[in-house]
Amino acid sequence: MKLLEHQAKERLRRVGIECPTGLVARSPQEAEKAAQEMGPVVIKAQVPIGGRGKAGGVKLAKTPAEAHAAAAAILSMEIHGYSVPSVLCEEALEIAKEIYLGVTVDRDRRSMVVILSFAGGMEIEEVAEHSPEKIAKLWPDPFAGPQAFEIRELTLQALEAVGGDETLPKARYLAELVPVVQSLFRLSQELDASLCEINPLVVTASGQVIAGDAKIEIDQNAEFRHRDLVRELGPDASAATSGDDPLEVEARRRGLTYVHLGGSVGIIGNGAGLVMNTLDLVKQHGGSAANFLDIGGGAKAEVVKQALEMLLLDPAVQGVFVNIFGGITRGDEVARGLISARDELGMQLPLVVRMTGTREEEGRQLLEAAGITPAVSAPEAARKIVELIGSTGSS
């Protein structure tokens, strides 16, 4: 679940992190009015996707008339597949320095990580790729969070990494960053965020430290603890996590773990590793996978049905390969789901099922009774579905 910039900044404000004054506008008129109240403003598209700056979704407006024009232009844009329902009109900052600050998960360290760089701003990804030494990291104790002294050490390390920075005196950096980092970390914990990022954290010409932009993404596994937020943000916020593909947005609405890949063989499997291996198998046999769809462990018949329905929404799908190796998932449940889905949806496309593991025999019997012959192995099933679709099917 991704928060829009203005939603993220609202949370930053609540924990005491300074953000520019801003108003959300849903029309050019509202943007014009905001500029009348606020003076020069930056107009920013509110879309749950990065790279909007380079896509033209951020414009400076010095007068109300310019604000009107900029908002009109941005509100009619489509940015990486997203329409722009609203813009954020923010006081324009006099930027003296852009800092990168983020809190996320470091899977190698099995820890949260605080990332700080004085080479912040739009180029942070390039910095990460080409000069990773300019980025300082702190892995705080998850219960204690980052201590003030640890943040001072991090700050000094980040300053040394860029050969120092004179925008503010060292003492100010050491003092100012402590509460910002602690608040951001606390927020990440309260929200169960998989990412809390301020980029840029701006130092203004007058020496104020203020959040220029903010990204917050909530761990989807933790949404059960944030029902109010889920309600407040609406289904689009959840749907946006997986990216900008309309099929993926739809899959998220249905609660399915789905990635659209663009080929012609619809894939359903249980377990991320197995599904990935199924993609590999289809490719090895000359086919192209339409998607990744993992029904997870212990899926019930209803989930299987939902999954098949989802696949059929993709017009490129010309056949379906279901690959189940039951551990916690039971063959009979899968078989029941498949049969009822096929029948209810009146599915005509080729369907190849490979099923083994827990309750394999019961599932197999159900499938056979319904006229679906299971394949004996995954490679055989891959070969079969590619054959059935034929060469026209491969993209």
Binding site: S111, M112, D219, G269, G271, G273, M276, L281, F292, G327
Partner: protein, 295 residues
């Protein structure tokens, strides 16, 4: 012998009275595992599947001497269950539960590390030592086959595929370990590979990784420094487009590590033969071990 789990292991199951817990506890009992206790708060004093149920892990450990725990409790309560077992002195916790919030796991991991508890998972199929008739988790009983291959894999279902393929070719397993697919895990590939090195029964290790993270690369480093047994590698997700998130496995390709190419290169550099398909895992095993002895 085996690693981590053997016939002397005394297993308790957290969440045993739930539907998944019941089903798989029965499977574990059928396999021959010494399941000595179940833990379900509020149901202490009852019996379930013939096994005594306790309110807390501490009580279960005191009454039964359990040393190993299987966690089947729902995601909101799973991290707490892991910590409870650790605090009660359990030395190996196997967390099957998937969809646990990542922050919960970061905290649980810090908690148990401070207490020296080993964790497998979460979001994993658990482990099985067929020659010892012992399993904790959800690996299907019927594919088990005692033998000399140590299997370690991230994915659950892929582990079964590999076990089954090896079994069909006549190779059994000393222990199979599914370390799980979550961003924050307990034992890593390196940890398990190191345990297999010291296990007499194990003569060859199959390491089945997937895209994302750099656990495979670090295991390769360990093996590259000198490893006493042949290792067969496998990396799934090779046809995944870079940058696509493949489900809650958290398989995000970032930078140069994490990509299938990086993992395969690291393993090959360490002298590990890497298979392209599951069938090839069997072939490479045969190449290294000769015809199956356990068939």
């Amino acid at each position: 012998m085996s690693i981590l789990l053997n016939r002397a292991s005394k297993v308790l199951v957290q969440g045993m009275t739930g539907s998944e817990g019941s089903f798989h506890t029965q499977q574990m009992l059928d396999f021959g595992t010494q399941v000595v206790a179940g833990v379900s708060p509020g149901k202490g004093g009852t019996k379930h599947l013939g096994v005594p149920v306790f309110d807390t892990v501490r009580e279960a450990v005191e009454a039964t001497g359990a040393d190993t725990a299987g966690v089947f409790v729902p995601p909101p309560f799973a991290a707490d269950a892991i910590m409870e077992s650790s605090a009660a002195g359990i030395s190996l916790v196997v967390a099957i539960t998937e969809l646990i919030p990542v922050n919960d796991m970061v905290r649980a991991r810090a908690f148990i590390s401070a207490r020296g508890t080993r964790l497998i998972g979460p979001n994993c199929p658990g482990l099985m030592s067929p020659g010892e008739r012992a399993k904790v988790g959800i690996i299907p009983n019927h594919i088990a086959n005692p033998g000399e291959v140590g299997v370690v894999s991230r994915s659950g279902t892929l582990t079964y595929e590999i076990i089954q393929a090896l079994a069909r070719a006549g190779y059994g397993q000393s222990t199979s370990v599914g370390i799980g697919g979550d961003p924050v895990l307990g034992l890593s590939f390196s940890d398990v590979v190191e345990l297999f090195a010291a296990d007499e029964e194990t003569t060859l290790v199959v390491l089945a990784g997937e895209i994302g993270g750099s656990d495979e690369e670090r295991a390769a480093e360990l093996i590259g420094r000198g490893y006493p047994k042949p290792v067969v590698g496998f990396i799934s997700g090779r046809s995944a487009p870079p940058g696509k998130r493949m489900g809650h496995a958290g398989a995000i390709i970032s930078g140069t590590t994490g990509s299938p190419a990086s993992k395969v290169a690291a393993l090959e550099k360490a002298g590990v033969k890497v298979a392209d398909t599951i069938e090839q895992i069997v072939e490479l095993t045969r190449e290294r071990l000769g015809a199956a002895r356990s068939s």
